[in-house]
Amino acid sequence: MAPHPETWLQPRPEGLFCLPGGFFIDATRAVDRAIITHGHADHARPGHHHVLASAETLAIMRARMGEGRAGITQQALASGEVLRIGDVDVGLVPAGHVLGSCQVVMTYQGSRAVVSGDYKRRADPTCAGFVPVACDVFVTEATFGLPVFRHPDTDKEIAKLLHSMSVFPERPHLIGAYGLGKSQRMVALLRAAGYDAPIYLHGALAKLCDLYGELGIDLGDLRPATVADKAALRGAVVIAPPSAVADRWARRLDDPVVAVASGWMRVRQRAKASGVELPLIISDHADWDELLATVIDVQAPEIWVTHGNEAALIYQLGLMGRRGRALSLIGYGDEGDDA
């Protein structure tokens, strides 16, 4: 009989550890061997010895951390390839979260576990879509693990933004969007909706947008907002990290419409508390319905939940006849609000 994954995949203070492979997944502190699901700072930490990830994630890590800190040795694994590490077969398949994001598929003596990292199920022009893989244990996130979180159609939210730009043609629209993934996706969504004017970027976003371009994601005409004069920014789209939106940096803009693109914008008082005038419910995480659909798609009898609102999800898994287990891993989901 195949061994149950709980005998060979264990939560440790550093993160999930695969015993027969001798590696951690998304270790939260420096370790000897790490597999990284995606480039967000709470999952990709600096200082590991050996790092295995998708080529895109490795490139993102190098750009964010610098060559030396992104792993002493780096190894890329393409989607669809299988690599034997110790006694485990390891594969990476797309998770649909941000460019390069992957699920880690581990097969050991006929028993299979999939660690999803962070993921979403909707189309995203900047990254490959989530691929469900049948498994015995599926390790999921639960950022939006409450039935109040149902993201509306992305197209509707983009239409809301474009409508606001037509109602206030003189005001710059300042969009708070997380630096890796969300900001590039916002640009790509606007481009897909036919908006081809220059888009202005906060300085902190430039490097990653350039990298997306190098990796084949065309984002059109991007310009630095920091050196642009007020007149040029009138009526323009400006993208900045959420932390900059209510900060001194934003004073360079004349009467901006402040928008924030995040799944958290679903809850009004939360959106209002962040000083947003135009909340855009656009998320890189699965919503409640998508979490449940994924559980069914991967056909796993047992679901482990790494972080987020796990109580409601685990309760719901019980109603669906599946075993839910909270891993309560510390250290994820706290890099700003990358939701």
């Binding site: 039935p147 149902r150 209510a246 008082q269 719901q316």
Partner: protein
């Protein structure tokens, strides 16, 4: 219902007053009757549906959603209407009901059938419309837009004076067809007849030194400025009402005043707590404000009276066109003849020169006095704040040197600045206790200095609030200090504002709690 829901959602996220007025004006100008009238009634809090209370909604959601999941969700969202709207199963086809249909059907449907009715609406609506529906039905709209804002929006959109709306408002009935007919110039302005409607009051300007220098003092009359709330007493054959300065009907909070209004007149005065002829501090009056029901005990402990200072109507006769002196004569004659309970006259102060009044103002120690009022003898009673007719000459504020303790970001134009400040004074054992909060009084340059300093000296953050190290002394001005159990310091300041930034002063030399406590009951001079 969808356009109304969109309006509510946009109002929620819009910070500026003018922007809110613009949204409301657009709505009232473009939506049909009777929808816009019902929207106005909803904002005014005039729609009540007894069969649809929050408990009904809670029971309803339990029929569609697992109670455990709802409990976890409600706990997270914190707002019942929003939690239900978000968790309700997604509409198969979105066809939300129209606002007038919602009102009509809620009124016509027997109580036991109302939950099923609401369920069909929720089934056919998007999230935003569901929130609006539930808030409307349960009567908890709280949209961040007051009735006054809605009236200003109507005035702006239809190019009438807002006072013209105020004058007839309390005689109108939802969904206000006569109002919109008049606003769109189809009919004349509705005649309130003998309905006890509100008349916009005459307001005063603060007097500055330059104004005083050029004033012809002999043509002015002087009275004390009482520290209560401005009220209008309206008694007609059609009914009796007590209105606040902002046109709110506050009759229910002060039944003893209503009971004393056994006459036909419209009077202007100050509502005060008066015990044995002595005006109590404003804090006492606060115990009586904003209460729908008032207990016998509260009535006995905080006895209210009205100090009258003007007369708008004597019987059915409109006196507003008469000069102040003549109105005062009518008021005194009427008072002598009528002798109403719980009312007296605000005495006129004899004076010859500015110096006489300045001396009086400087020596007045009464708790209930805020300063002086100056009224031009020849002025008619004019709505609003016309310049040169009525002046208020407030006492100089009391002041304390306080230490900045917490800061919070402001709204709108100030949303990137730490512009709201909580400050404290030293206790005997060297701790700081907060005694107040101020948002105004500083210059733009001082705001920049404070903002920069706060960002560099934050020791902790609590959501939007930053705690700073003790390092800045603020000179705080205020009109009075009152005892308060709400604050840890035991003191509440009235109208606190920042007079100066005392960057020169070491924090250790800021004032002590005992100094602040000694100012309780002291009058500003």
């Amino acid at each position: 219902m969808k356009p109304f829901a969109d309006l509510l959602e946009r109002l929620l996220y819009t910070q500026g007053r003018n922007a809110k007025i613009a949204l409301l004006a657009d709505y009232f100008g473009t939506r049909p009757d009777p929808e816009r009238g019902y929207a106005l009634a909803a904002i005014a809090g005039k729609l009540d549906f007894p069969g649809a209370k929050p408990a009904v909604l809670r029971a309803l959601v339990a029929t569609r959603v697992d109670p455990e999941l709802f409990a976890l969700s409600y706990d997270y969202v914190g707002d019942l209407a929003e939690a239900i709207a978000l968790i309700w199963p997604k509409a198969a086809i979105e066809a939300p009901p129209e606002l007038p249909a919602v009102v009509d059907q809620l009124r016509q449907t027997p109580r036991e059938a109302i939950p099923a009715l609401i369920a069909t609406w929720l089934d056919a609506s998007d999230v935003s419309t569901r929130i609006a529906l539930i808030k409307l039905i349960t009567g908890g709209l709280r949209v961040g837009a007051s009735l006054r804002l809605a009236k200003l929006a109507l005035a702006q959109r239809f190019e009438v004076e807002v006072d013209q709306i105020e004058e007839i408002w309390h005689g109108l009935l939802a969904p206000y067809p006569t109002l919109f007919d008049w606003l769109e110039r189809r009919t004349a302005r509705p005649d309130p007849g003998t309905t006890p409607v509100f008349r916009p009051p005459m307001l005063a300007h603060p007097i500055e030194e330059a104004d005083r220098a050029s004033l012809d003092w002999s043509s002015y009359r002087a009275e004390w400025k009482w520290d209560g709330i401005r009220v209008q007493l309206v008694a007609t054959p059609g009914g009796k009402r007590l209105y606040s300065r902002g046109a709110d009907d506050i009759s229910a909070s002060f039944p003893e005043i209503l009971a004393a209004m056994d006459f036909t007149a419209v009077l202007d005065g100050e509502l005060l707590v008066i015990r044995d002829g002595v005006v109590a501090p404003f804090a006492d009056l606060q115990q009586r404000l904003n209460r729908k029901m008032v207990s016998a005990r509260a009535r006995a402990e905080y006895p209210v009276a009205v100090r009258l200072y003007d007369m708008l109507f004597d019987g059915a006769t409109d006196l507003r066109g008469l000069p102040f002196d003549q109105r005062r004569g009518r008021l005194e004659a009427w008072f002598t003849a009528t002798r109403p309970a719980r009312m007296d006259l605000s005495e006129q102060i004899n004076f010859e020169t500015e110096a006489d009044l300045a001396a009086l103002r400087a020596t007045a120690r009464d708790d209930g006095i805020e300063g002086l009022m100056l009224k031009a003898a020849a002025s008619p009673y004019l709505a609003g704040r016309p310049k040169g007719h009525w002046w208020k000459w407030k006492r100089d504020p009391l002041s304390l040197d306080c230490v900045l303790m917490y800061a919070q970001r402001g709204h709108g134009r100030r949303s990137s600045f730490y512009s709201d400040y909580t400050f404290g004074v030293w206790t005997e054992d060297g701790r700081l206790v907060p005694i107040g909060k101020a948002y105004s009084g500083y210059t733009d340059a001082e705001l920049l200095v404070l903002d920069k300093w706060i960002r560099a000296h934050t020791v902790a953050t609590y959501g939007p609030v930053r705690e700073v190290e003790p390092g800045i002394v603020l000179e705080i001005g205020f009109d009075a200090a009152q005892r308060s159990s709400r604050h840890k310091s035991g003191i509440a300041l009235r109208f606190p504002r920042i007079l100066r930034l005392r960057l020169d002063k070491p924090v250790a030399e800021a004032d002590r709690l005992e100094t602040a406590t000694r100012l309780i009951g002291a009058a500003a001079v």
